[in-house]
């Protein structure tokens, strides 16, 4: 199969959300010893970008969006060990540590945000729900993250977003990570009030926000 043909098939597999095909094509690329950064840049990325476009146009709904995001993840899981072996650093849009703050088990929105960030080229560490505030900071330091994303759905737990920022201040780490907040009770005003770097109302806007903050 010619390179271009492979890229086109990869793009299509992502757009149409066919997981095993997206994985198989990744394996094929590895076997054919094609430059993997090129495979990602010219096959997978255009695919997920088209998915984003189809979403914005209103053709795609969440099931298509999330299925494609999962295909992307599955294919990357095939490619990543190879990239590591060859010591190739892929261009990530940024590193993200995300989770729902302690005391709060609402995680559907957080999962959507994590999936969409990941599908759009961000490197995402998902800590899950009901996560200790210290844990966010530890993980962010450990992974040299660009973002800490805090989700909270309860008025009681949204206070955790504020506390996390206070904790960063105490540890002299404020400003080192960009802190994004979200969830039903949060809003732009709250983000400003507590000194967060941004707020987004939904997963697609969260991707836009993160891209903007990375200067992309």
């Amino acid at each position: 199969m010619k390179k271009e043909e492979l890229f086109a098939r990869i793009e299509k597999a992502i757009i149409e959300g066919r997981k095993s095909e997206a994985e198989d094509l990744a394996r094929e690329a590895v076997k054919a010893k094609i430059d993997l950064t090129e495979v990602i840049e010219k096959g997978y990325v255009p695919g997920i970008q088209k998915v984003g476009d189809l979403w914005e146009k209103g053709d795609y709904f969440l099931p298509e969006l999330i299925t494609s995001a999962e295909c992307m993840k599955a294919a990357m899981a095939v490619l990543q060990p190879e990239l590591d072996k060859a010591n190739i650093k892929t261009k990530t849009k940024g590193k993200v540590v995300i989770g729902t703050v302690e005391g709060d088990i609402h995680d559907i929105g957080k999962n959507l945000v994590a999936s969409m960030l990941s599908a759009n080229g961000f490197d995402v560490v998902d800590l899950g729900a009901d996560v200790k505030l210290e844990k966010f900071i530890e993980k962010a330091e450990e992974t040299k993250a660009d973002f800490i994303c805090l989700s909270a759905l309860l008025t009681t737990t949204m206070l955790g977003q504020k506390k996390a920022i206070e904790l960063l201040r105490q540890k002299n780490l404020y400003g080192k990570f960009k802190v994004l907040v979200g969830g039903a009770p949060a809003n732009q005003k709250w983000a400003e009030e507590i000194g967060a770097d941004g707020y987004a109302e939904n997963a697609m806007l969260a991707v836009k926000l993160a891209k903007r903050l990375m200067g992309a």
Partner: protein, 488 residues
């Protein structure tokens, strides 16, 4: 006299109901359900169920759940603050209460949502007290001017101080149950008295799919032991946290609720429990949880029918809207929900006043919805024969000049047969123009002000109030909160 039919809505055949229940039992047994609470796991273990310690997965046997169903009461009695007025929760009785735990309030003056404060909470409690078709109050607003750790108990305090109505409430933290129960017991004069005449219902949500969290399981156990009814609020979101089909979501709903019934009965045999929910038809485009979707209401009516089949009292989140303001959508979705819920005979219907997916309360909407609930009540009271003969005697000596308006028959029945709304516009066009062409929200706002102005607060007796204040401040202190907003 011919018996009046109570109009009823059913969406499932008996065979369909039984199939849904069978599949729910099969899932509970084979796949099991996660229960993240030590005490509950112990109860299940003791009852002979297989418990996987590491994963907190319980395999529930049908025979245990069926046994639990036989001890769960079919009818629950609630009593108001005075202990005198009794409400029956069961059969086809319908009680509306405002949608609970709103994060924002719609400010009529600015037309925008904002964070509620203590004053809003007081107005909200006083207003609810005065609305005839809203039988229960709910701890419906989260006050933003008190520290968050006491937000759940703070709202209950005001409900008890400013309104006589029974309360639909719930905990946000495991620690909150105790002080909340203490507040309720203070009103009754003791724990035993409270159990004998329950004043509140505690909402507890399983976490879909197939999981009961530590917080809400503890709430079930604590409420059962205090003799207070729990309301099981299963809330699958189609295609996001439950199967996308309505029937598939019903199977999961029933499985989660049956597990809840079992927890309650194992904690205390005979404890009251309500088969409720707040599922939604997940919006695949926007990732939101529309409560005003017709499919959401179909799920509600469906599981309520199953709850009745299981001989349990029922509850649903209906009669609310996803609109952001009191517009046509708000009226449409609320009206549909209230009417369908009433026709389905859902015993507790939570929703009035709510906008924006269960997140915003509006006082204006609450008075509009009171009128909507009134229409729903009128509908389910049905068409009555009233007199025998119905008409022939009234037509004796009929001439074209016969006056209906002055007939004694008219005077006798017109207020019973018909209702006369305050807020809905039934003026002539000219009268409407003369009154300033006011939109419904403006008329509602004037009505809110009138109610609050003309009805003195239904304050609790002074000594009870002092005791409630003592409990609240002690709890606040224990949580490191030295001062509370000046209590009105």
């Amino acid at each position: 006299m011919i018996k009046t039919i109570r109009p009823k809505l059913e969406l499932l055949s008996r065979r369909f109901i039984e199939k849904i229940i069978d599949e729910a039992y099969e899932i509970l047994d084979k796949q099991g359900i996660f229960v993240e609470n030590k005490e509950a796991l112990k109860l299940f273990s003791q009852a002979g169920m297989k418990v996987e310690k590491k994963t907190h997965r319980v395999h529930l046997k049908r025979r245990l759940v069926e046994k639990c169903l036989t001890t769960a009461p079919a009818v629950i009695k609630l009593y108001d603050r005075t202990g005198e007025r009794e409400y029956t929760v069961g059969g086809d009785e319908v009680h509306f209460d405002p949608g609970s735990a709103a994060v924002t309030i719609l400010d009529h003056k600015t037309g925008e949502e904002r964070k509620p404060e203590t004053k809003d909470l007081v107005d909200y409690c006083r207003l609810t007290e005065c609305l005839d078709n809203i039988h229960f109050q709910s701890t419906g607003l989260i006050s933003s001017d008190v520290p968050h750790p006491i937000a759940d108990i703070y709202r209950l305090y005001f409900g008890l101080v400013f309104s006589r109505k029974p309360v639909v409430t719930g905990t946000f933290r495991v620690e909150s149950f105790r002080p909340m129960k203490d507040l309720l017991a203070a009103v009754r004069g003791g724990d035993k008295e409270l159990a004998a005449k329950p004043l509140a219902i505690f909402d507890a949500c399983p976490s879909p799919p197939l999981k009961w969290s530590n917080l809400t399981t503890q709430s079930l156990i604590d409420a059962a032991r205090a003799g207070l009814p729990s309301e099981l609020i299963s809330m699958g979101m189609t295609g996001a946290t439950s199967l996308v089909t309505i029937s598939g979501t019903l199977v999961q709903h029933v499985a989660e609720n049956l597990c809840g019934v079992a927890i309650v009965q194992l904690a205390k045999k005979g404890a009251p429990v309500i088969f409720g929910g707040s599922p939604s038809s997940f919006d695949m485009r926007r990732g939101t949880t529309p409560m005003g979707a017709i499919e959401t209401m179909m799920i509600d009516v469906g599981y309520a029918q199953i709850g009745k089949y299981l001989n349990l009292p029922t509850h649903a989140y209906m009669g609310l809207s996803d609109a952001k303001t009191n517009d046509a959508q708000a009226g449409l979705e609320t009206g549909l929900g209230a009417v369908l819920g009433a026709l389905a005979g859902v015993n507790v219907i939570s929703g009035p006043g709510m906008l924006d997916f269960e997140s915003c309360q509006s006082l204006e909407k609450l008075v509009i919805d009171d009128e909507i609930c009134g229409m729903a009540y009128r509908l389910i009271s049905g068409i009555a024969q009233r007199e025998d003969p119905i008409a022939t005697d009234k037509f004796e000596g009929f001439t074209p000049e016969t006056q209906f308006l002055s007939m004694p028959h008219t005077k006798k029945w017109y207020r019973l047969e018909h209702s006369y709304p305050v807020i809905a516009d039934r003026d002539t066009y000219d009268a409407w123009v003369a009154l300033g062409k006011k939109p419904i929200a403006d008329r509602a706002s004037e009505h809110v002000e009138k109610i609050l102005r003309s009805n003195p607060p239904a304050l609790v007796e002074k000594d009870v109030r002092n005791e409630l204040t003592r409990i609240l401040t002690a709890y606040a202190k224990a949580n490191g909160i030295a001062s509370l907003p000046a209590l009105p």
